[in-house]
């Protein structure tokens, strides 16, 4: 399988074409915009919290399939999770792409594994991490 075949799998294209939790949120607790200025990819995250739990999450954005699919996967993974779980997943995801760590995602996060192929195209890593960096800023505040 060629590099681009392994990257642009069904799962990534499906998230790109049918983004999950897409749209702006009216009443939110956390909101963060992220942008990659050199390529112009944009992601905007909205989170509603119930105590420590992410009770609602959504995103809007524009950009390449990798940046938008990654944002869609992020919202899908974090819906209903705690902030602590979000931080842990964030670390695991960025570790996979930036520190070459072997990911050990649980089954419910398996879509994220499709992003591992991005590692072989260094120029695109920032596309895959945009939503996650945005999340980091949002929950770090």
């Amino acid at each position: 399988m060629s590099l681009s075949d392994s990257l642009y799998q069904e799962v990534l294209l499906d998230h790109y074409q049918n983004p999950r939790h897409h749209g702006k949120m009216e009443h939110f607790h956390l909101h963060q915009e992220g942008v990659n200025p050199l390529c112009g990819d944009e992601v905007e995250l909205f989170l509603k919290l119930n105590g420590d739990i992410i009770s609602e999450i959504s995103f809007v954005g524009k950009g390449c399939s990798i940046s938008q699919a990654s944002a869609s996967m992020l919202t899908d993974c974090l819906y209903g999770k705690t902030i602590a779980e979000a931080k842990s997943l964030l670390q695991e995801f960025k570790g996979m792409l930036l520190e070459d760590k072997v990911p050990n995602f649980s089954e419910e996060y398996e879509d994220l594994e499709s992003m591992e192929a991005v590692k072989k195209i260094p120029a695109r890593i920032k596309c895959a991490t945009l939503a996650w960096n945005t999340l980091e800023k949002a929950i770090g505040k």
């Binding site: 060629s2 590099l3 681009s4 075949d5 990257l7 642009y8 294209l13 790109y16 074409q17 050199l38 390529c39 112009g40 990819d41 524009k62 950009g63 390449c64 399939s65 990798i66 195209i121 120029a123 695109r124 596309c127």
Partner: protein, 413 residues
């Protein structure tokens, strides 16, 4: 002399290399051109046998380096049709050349309420320096609008270029759509109101026979690296009477005449505008690039690119489903093709082509106002130079077919 494509390709070592296991198909010369062996060898020879600082040493090597550096200034002035060599100022790149004009001439001559006219197709390097100057001086930026085919809409030129306009600054050729602007009408209008004209020649000088005196440019800015030369060398040409009035913008060595503890007097042109040790090897290498371009001939290069452009446009049109930008009037267009697969982001196209060994540029090309005008995030851009072939275009089409296969499901239409 005939245009010998095979010989030309043989002069560029990188063209026989591989990328991702495939023969390199380089279609990104608008970003930076490849370099012929003569340029590479000239730079190597300088470092191996001629290296010394210039304008300072009394010893042989320094004299030799100075001579070669200044020889490139003479060659440059001839290449662009300048009246003499001292009106050629070396900078680091086109951007620095434009900033030099903004910081030196602009800060002296642009005042509150004055107007600067640009176009909606400018590269950021010919936009942001004027935004900065306008903010500092409370001057006003105005834009010549575009027609849908990316040519300039000159119907209201007289209302845009008014008596308040002090400078009109625009590209000779667009880096996004390849549009070659009709400069003569704009320059004629600028003369009527006494405005100066700056031409961003970054994309123009490498593809089009250009004569700064005949075309009556006040300022002309360009870079060596887009015309077979090394990176880190930019050029600013300006009319001598304008340069004479321009104060230094960077202080330091080489640009002075006499220095006391509390004040200095400044050197004559061109040294007054070239502070510090310049990119000596780069400038000397640029001299070799100019010789190479002259040996092939700028009109020959233009003819070859037109042939490629026509061939590529026909094939891309036949491919179907692509959105193509820019005019179909090839007399107003250089060898640049911007396009989009509706529904597929340019970066995704770029990555898939990269795997096939095909280098194109994707994104906003540092021309975001144009992207806003078209309502798009960016484009895929294939750009040609003298060493490209019809086979390169064929390879591009094979790569695009692969994009279509992978993204078939999400393509709009």
């Amino acid at each position: 002399m005939s245009f010998d494509l095979e010989k030309i390709r043989g002069d560029f070592p990188i063209l026989s290399t591989q990328m991702n296991g495939k023969p390199l198909v380089f279609l990104d010369s608008a970003a930076s051109s490849q370099k012929p062996k003569s340029v590479i060898d000239t730079i190597r020879k300088y470092y191996e046998a001629e290296n010394a600082n210039i304008h300072r040493g009394v010893y042989y090597l320094s004299q030799k380096a100075t001579e070669k550096y200044e020889m490139t200034r003479i060659k440059t002035s001839r290449f662009i049709g300048a009246a003499c060599a001292k009106v050629v100022i070396f900078t680091r790149n086109t951007t620095e050349s434009i900033n030099l004009v903004a910081q030196s001439w602009g800060r002296t001559n642009i005042h509150e309420g004055d107007e600067i006219v640009l176009t909606e197709l400018e590269h950021h390097s010919n936009l942001v320096p004027w935004q900065m100057l306008a903010q500092e001086k409370q001057a006003v930026l105005k834009f010549i609008p575009l027609n849908q085919d990316s040519t300039l809409d000159l119907t209201n030129l007289d209302e845009i270029i008014t008596e308040r306009v002090k400078l009109v600054a625009l590209a000779q050729m667009s880096n996004v759509t390849g549009t070659i602007h009709d400069l003569s009408a704009i320059i004629r209008r600028a003369r009527e109101v006494g405005a100066k004209v700056l031409i961003d020649g970054a994309q123009g000088i490498c593809h089009l026979p250009t004569n700064v005196q005949k075309e009556d440019f006040d300022f002309y800015a360009f870079s060596a690296h887009k015309m077979l030369g090394p990176t880190g060398v930019g050029i600013l040409y300006a009319k001598e009477e304008i340069l004479d009035t321009m104060p230094p913008w960077m202080g330091g060595g080489d640009m002075i005449s006499k220095v006391w503890k509390d004040k200095s007097t400044y050197a004559d042109l061109p040294a007054r505008l070239e502070a510090g040790t310049p990119n000596i090897s780069g400038v000397i290498g640029f001299g070799a690039a100019l010789e190479y371009l002259e040996s092939v001939g700028m009109q020959e290069i233009r003819n070859h690119e037109l042939e490629l452009l026509q061939y590529a446009l026909d094939r891309l049109e036949d491919f179907g489903g692509l959105e193509l930008y820019g005019t179909n009037d090839l007399s107003k267009r250089g060898g640049v093709i911007s396009f989009n697969f509706p529904g597929v982001h340019p970066h995704d196209v770029g990555s898939i082509l990269d795997e096939e060994g095909i280098a194109i540029r994707v994104g906003h090309h540092c021309a975001q106002p144009f992207m806003d005008f078209k309502g798009i995030a960016g484009t895929c851009r294939a750009s040609f130079y003298l060493y490209n072939t019809k086979e390169d275009v064929d390879s591009l089409l094979v790569g695009l077919k692969k994009v279509k296969e992978i993204f078939g499901r999400v393509l709009k239409r």
